[in-house]
């Protein structure tokens, strides 16, 4: 089956421009003839006639090119007729002509510099608005939480336990692995530096204090923000897209009670436990590195660790956990509830939830450091 591409021939006689079309004027083939048709000029003719007798097939793309050429000729003051097409082709041409010439695509003129300033301004305002909304959401969650004491029936116990399992128990392998390896790395790198001063034994202090005060909780929070904060946003966001949250409201259920509080409370319980677990695994990693790579005996390591760290170090670290848990879970739920309509918005807000969660965790960690140094803890 030979495919004959679209083509046409324009001849002028007695002030009449005859445009004889040939071949298949269909979407795959019409590109070849498009610019040629656009370049067609009346050239002094007063009338024009499209002759479709030799056309094999026509679809709406072909009909469009014909109809656009016709409109251009008409605009130039010519009297245009179309003839020789079958009934089906004429019906299609009528349809396309009836749809009319679409307006040319609008191009927004924008000044580049003003555009940049505008974007910066919009981003800044967006940032502050976001902060305000987050704060008010935090307030709403707090009120909903306090309401639980008056109406304990509102507590969704099953959801709470399920979320502890998902956010806490299921995170044990990844958090354990990463903490252990970071413990090894800290001990090894620390020992490398301290060896120069002959103070290799203080590797244990380095590992012990840094893990208990900072590394354990920070690592755990970062993993949880990536793992759980994003999951919260995606879960709630998808429910938002499916109108499940609207359905909840019409059934007289408060999404704060149903979705947000179980998640926040579960993470507030789970994150300190995870942080404790991370502390233990990181210290174990440090200990194993000390024994196998640096040649300490296990007893030496434990004795030195006992000298180096106090209960305070541990408490300083672990006391940050509930705060970080609230930040991560509230940001996760907040972004999830902001989802509107589309799948694209679920993705965007999930990313935003992780970025914001991490940002807030680090900022609060810095503030804790300053606070503790003021309090001489």
């Amino acid at each position: 089956m030979a495919e004959n591409g679209a083509s046409f021939e324009a001849k002028q006689a007695d002030g009449e421009l005859v445009i004889a079309l040939r071949g298949r004027w269909t979407i795959g083939l019409v590109a070849a003839v498009n610019s040629q048709a656009a370049a067609l000029r009346p050239g002094g003719a007063r009338r024009a006639r499209f002759d479709l007798t030799a056309v094999e097939a026509i679809d709406s793309a072909g009909a469009w090119v014909i109809s656009r050429t016709r409109a251009a000729l008409q605009a130039a003051g010519l009297d245009v007729t179309i003839e020789g097409g079958g009934p089906a082709q004429e019906a299609l041409l009528d349809k396309v002509l009836a749809a009319g010439l679409p307006p040319p695509a609008e191009r927004h003129p924008h000044h580049y510099f003003i555009h940049i300033v505008e974007r910066i301004g919009a981003a800044l305002i967006g940032f502050f608005k976001q902060g305000r909304d987050l704060l008010s959401f935090f307030g709403a969650v707090t009120i909903a939480f306090l309401r639980l004491f008056r109406q304990p029936r509102r507590i969704k116990f099953v959801a709470f336990i399920a979320h502890i399992e998902q956010t806490g128990l299921n995170a044990l392998p990844i958090i354990g692995l990463i903490s252990f390896l970071i413990g090894v790395v800290l001990a090894y790198q620390g020992a490398d530096q301290l060896r120069r001063f002959g103070a290799q034994i203080f590797t244990v202090n380095l590992v012990g204090v840094s893990v208990l005060r900072e590394m354990g909780i920070l690592l755990t929070s970062i993993i949880v923000a990536g793992r759980t904060g994003s999951a919260f946003t995606a879960q709630i966001g998808t429910m938002q897209v499916n109108e499940e949250i609207d359905a909840m409201r019409t059934l007289g259920l408060d999404p704060l009670d149903m979705l947000v509080l179980p998640r926040v409370m579960a993470l507030v319980v789970a994150l300190p436990l995870l942080a404790f677990y991370s502390d233990i695994l990181a210290l174990t990693g440090g200990g194993i590195a000390a024994v196998f790579l640096l040649g300490m005996t296990p007893t030496q390591f434990i004795t030195q660790l006992n000298h180096a760290v106090t209960l305070n170090h541990f408490l300083v670290g672990i006391s940050k956990a509930p705060v970080f848990a609230m930040l991560i879970s509230i940001v996760g739920c907040f972004e999830g509830l902001r989802v509107t309509g589309s799948a694209e918005s679920v993705g965007r807000l999930t990313t935003q939830s992780v970025v914001e969660g991490l940002f807030l965790v680090i900022v609060f960690d810095a503030m804790f450091s300053i606070l503790f140094s003021f309090l001489h803890i």
Partner: protein, 260 residues
């Protein structure tokens, strides 16, 4: 091949079996769709109307049977042939299935950009034409799907399905969820596009008004099999479900409206 294209059916299904686990949905379906006709597919909920559609367009792999679409066997095509075949049909999904991150115009452009080598300008023009042909206002092109009403989403979905000027159009419950006036207008739109573009339409529907208004033949899915006939013949069919369907109060009302 020099056979008359009008003689070979556009879709030809033989002994099709579909099953999910132990549940058999289709048990030996034979169906021919002729060129240029509008075939309405009806059946109770769960009778596998959408599954049949999804099987024909290759979204669902049948357990057994043979499907020929536009003269090509759908099983055993390589990727390039399959893509060429796919560009010859358009599918409108139940809720439009527009890409939510793209505007209506961008949605319509997706197949044009992917499957043709037209100039960007001609693509813009054809996009605007398709949007106008399905009866959307020109400013709808710049809107996102979440900003459209249900009826407009379906029209936009139809514009995307028609972007490549397909020979064959699959519609999955196009009028579901539309108000009666909107549904009537949509039926009319499909009919007029079908006639002017010379389309063959495979229409899955629940809407008795659509059936009597625009369908040439009707395929009824009952008892895991299919029964194809014109509306008049199906009215006399003894099968209890078909009787109930066409002679129930809604069926009578739709026929009555059509007769007037």
């Amino acid at each position: 091949m020099t056979t008359n294209p009008d003689a070979t059916p556009v879709i030809s299904i033989r002994a099709l079996v579909n099953r999910f686990g132990k549940q058999v949905v289709h048990d030996g379906i034979d169906l021919d769709v002729k060129r240029g006709e509008v075939l309405g597919v009806v059946g109770g909920s769960g009778s596998g109307k959408s599954v049949l559609l999804r099987t024909i367009v290759g979204l669902n792999r049948p357990a057994a049977g043979r499907i020929q679409v536009l003269g090509e066997d759908t099983q055993g095509l390589d990727d390039a042939d399959w893509r060429r075949l796919e560009s010859r049909w358009g599918v409108l999904f139940q809720s439009g299935a527009l890409f939510s991150s793209l505007t209506v115009a961008e949605n319509v452009k997706v197949p044009l950009k992917e499957h043709t080598d037209l100039s960007p300008r001609l693509i813009d023009e054809l996009t605007a034409l398709k949007i106008a042909m399905v009866g959307l206002p020109p400013d709808a092109g710049g809107k996102y799907p979440s900003q459209l009403s249900g009826g407009m989403k379906k029209r936009a979905g139809l514009a995307r399905a028609l972007a490549l000027d397909p020979e064959l159009l699959f519609l999955d419950e196009p009028t579901a969820g539309l108000d009666p006036i909107g549904a009537g207008a949509f039926d009319e739109l499909i009919r007029s596009l079908q006639q002017s573009l010379g389309l063959t339409v495979f229409l899955v529907t629940h809407d008795l008004d659509s059936l009597s208004a625009i369908c040439d033949r009707i395929a009824v899915l009952v008892d895991k099999r299919i029964k194809v006939d014109t509306m008049e013949h199906l009215l006399d069919d003894p099968h209890p479900w078909i009787r109930e369907y066409f002679h129930g109060p809604r069926g009578r009302a739709a026929r009555h409206a059509q007769a007037e």
